[in-house]
Amino acid sequence: MSSMTLSPNGNGSQETQNWLQSSVQTFFATCNWDNQSIEVQSLKLSALTEVETELALNLSVQDFFAAVNWDGTSLSSPALAPAQDLFEPAESDDGFTLTDFSDLF
């Protein structure tokens, strides 16, 4: 099997820090599983700067619960994918490649 070189994500900024190694606080802050709307994200943001942020009762259930500041953490950029994908396929397994396969027909 090939030994793999893990190359860092192209943009090289702080945001490439592997989320899987981040603290729980940061983890939750960067969750955007459901592609929260701008409205929801701004609600969360305002919740940080003001002591009390009122969550409008006319929000949909999803947006309402999503906007609750569950853990009182800071909001940063949404991302959940690891900066580096650790999976790499084998270069040769039992050596059975497409070329070998094609020869059989």
């Binding site: 994500n9 994918a81 900066a83 994908d85 396929p89 270069e91 396969f101 094609s102």
Partner: protein, 233 residues
Amino acid sequence: MANSTWGSTPELLHQSSAKLKNPKKHNHYGFKDFFQFDPNRGTIVDWNNSQNVLTTEDFIIGLVEGLEEEVGEASAATMYTIGCDWGQKDAFFFEKWFEKEYDRPMRQTNLLFLLETWWWPFTAQGWGRWEIDLGDRKQGFMFINIFDSAVARTLGDVGKPVCFLYAGLFAGFFTELVKKQLSCIEIQCYSMGETYCKFLLGGQDRIDAASFWLNEGATARDIEKRLRSGELR
């Protein structure tokens, strides 16, 4: 279900935050990962930048019955031919995105892994799960099983095979892949009361033989046995 995979419209790009952050994330086949919905433009773009259309069973029924009304018994051959064309074009499309995602040439990749990777978008799109059986590859044929065929599941038990589009898709794709003329025939179908659909892929002589035996009332098991014992008529 994909409406077409032959070339993506240049301005349509899947640009979810997840993809932008990690474009090489290989496990991206969850529904919300694979498809990006843009309500403003009314588009659904998948991870490989292909435009998609969501359809219902009514669409499938309309397609199948409408075609039958137009061309009668030629509808099976028509669907097969459409599938072949689709499969052939998809082979080119696949090679491009695979090599981009994995940074390696398709031809030097582990075959089973390559094929699983090819089929995943189809699973994500609702075409069904599959299983490849390469046990007979040295004899120059192989089997593909499809679970939850969109066509068969929609039409239900109608007493005859219906997955001609799939058979064509496999024929077209694998022909392009191995650079040899291959054909495909469905030898077992959910629409005939079976629990899954089974396809035979191989050279024309094998397919002709299977077709002949099917017409004589052979079961999939019979066909498998005869092929393995080297029979060709």
